[in-house]
């Protein structure tokens, strides 16, 4: 069972999502508020319909469930990494000698889509001791606070997780 959504329905999907968002944020069910919401989401949906939905991929339900499951696991993994990152930075800030040894590293990624690269770049920034400086095509420029941080990034377990979610 694969849902058949017509190609030119970008506008309607955006419109419905924007309207749900309006209701969630305002949480008020008077007539005037709902009318404002309808008009407002129409304008937003009209101007951003092709930005909101950029590309579509056909995907089977089994794969969809598996990828959703992996994504949720990834969010927990990322939360853990964020907490570790902050403890690490807090330790280095509070240490009297500031044990930092910075370097800029550069490496190739196997990720293809823009969304996957964005996720990867954001994840790098949130994980211990590394921030993304720039992404040019397939090359990531990363600033690392310590050499251990650089090595653990180059080891590439995070990238493998993202490849599993976004590709194959």
């Amino acid at each position: 069972m694969v849902l058949n959504i017509p190609k030119n329905s970008n506008f309607f999907i955006t419109y419905i999502v924007m309207f749900i968002f309006w209701i969630l944020l305002s949480w008020e069910f008077s007539l005037s508020n709902i009318l404002f919401g309808l008009v407002g989401s129409f304008l937003v949906a009209y101007s951003t319909r092709n930005l909101f939905i950029k590309e579509r991929i056909a995907i089977s339900p089994q794969k969809f469930i598996r990828k959703s499951y992996l994504s949720i696991l990834y969010i927990f993994y990322l939360t853990y990494q964020i907490i570790m990152a902050n403890l690490d930075v807090a330790y280095r800030v509070l240490h009297p000698k500031m044990p930092i040894d910075t370097r800029v590293i550069k490496f190739n990624t196997k990720l293809e889509s823009d969304l996957a690269k964005t996720c990867f770049a954001n994840s790098i920034t949130l994980t211990p001791g590394t921030i993304t400086i720039d992404v040019k095509k397939d090359i990531f420029y990363v600033h690392a606070l310590t050499s251990e941080a650089a090595e653990s990034l180059l080891e590439g377990s995070m990238e493998r997780k993202l490849i599993e979610i976004f590709q194959e």
Partner: protein, 100 residues
């Protein structure tokens, strides 16, 4: 009731702790890139912990939903902001600090 109060206080305390270390890092670290390490990460987790505390304190209500949406957006946009500043400065040709 007592336990919830305890958890909320702990989360708020954690949030302010990470904000404090982020600010200290901003003052102590030697150059822009290392300072971004401190603030970019510290603010994300600081805000995250404080908002989680508020969510637990308020329980289930429309405001809780809004706070969760705010949290999601901060988590998405904070690294992008860090990345923007970093890239702009790096492309200006400013070299990162190195220990000698």
């Amino acid at each position: 009731m007592e336990l919830i109060d305890f958890i909320v206080t702990a989360l708020l305390f954690g949030g302010t702790f990470f904000f404090t270390t982020a600010t200290l890092g901003l003052l102590r670290f030697p150059d822009l890139f290392t300072r971004l390490h401190a603030t970019g990460k510290g603010d994300t987790l600081g805000v995250g912990l404080i908002l989680t505390g508020l969510v637990i304190y308020l329980g289930l209500s429309p405001i809780t939903l809004k706070i969760i949406i705010i949290m999601t957006f901060i988590l998405l946009t904070s690294p992008v902001g860090t990345h923007c500043i970093c890239r702009a400065v790096y492309n200006q040709g400013i070299k990162p600090w190195k220990r000698r």
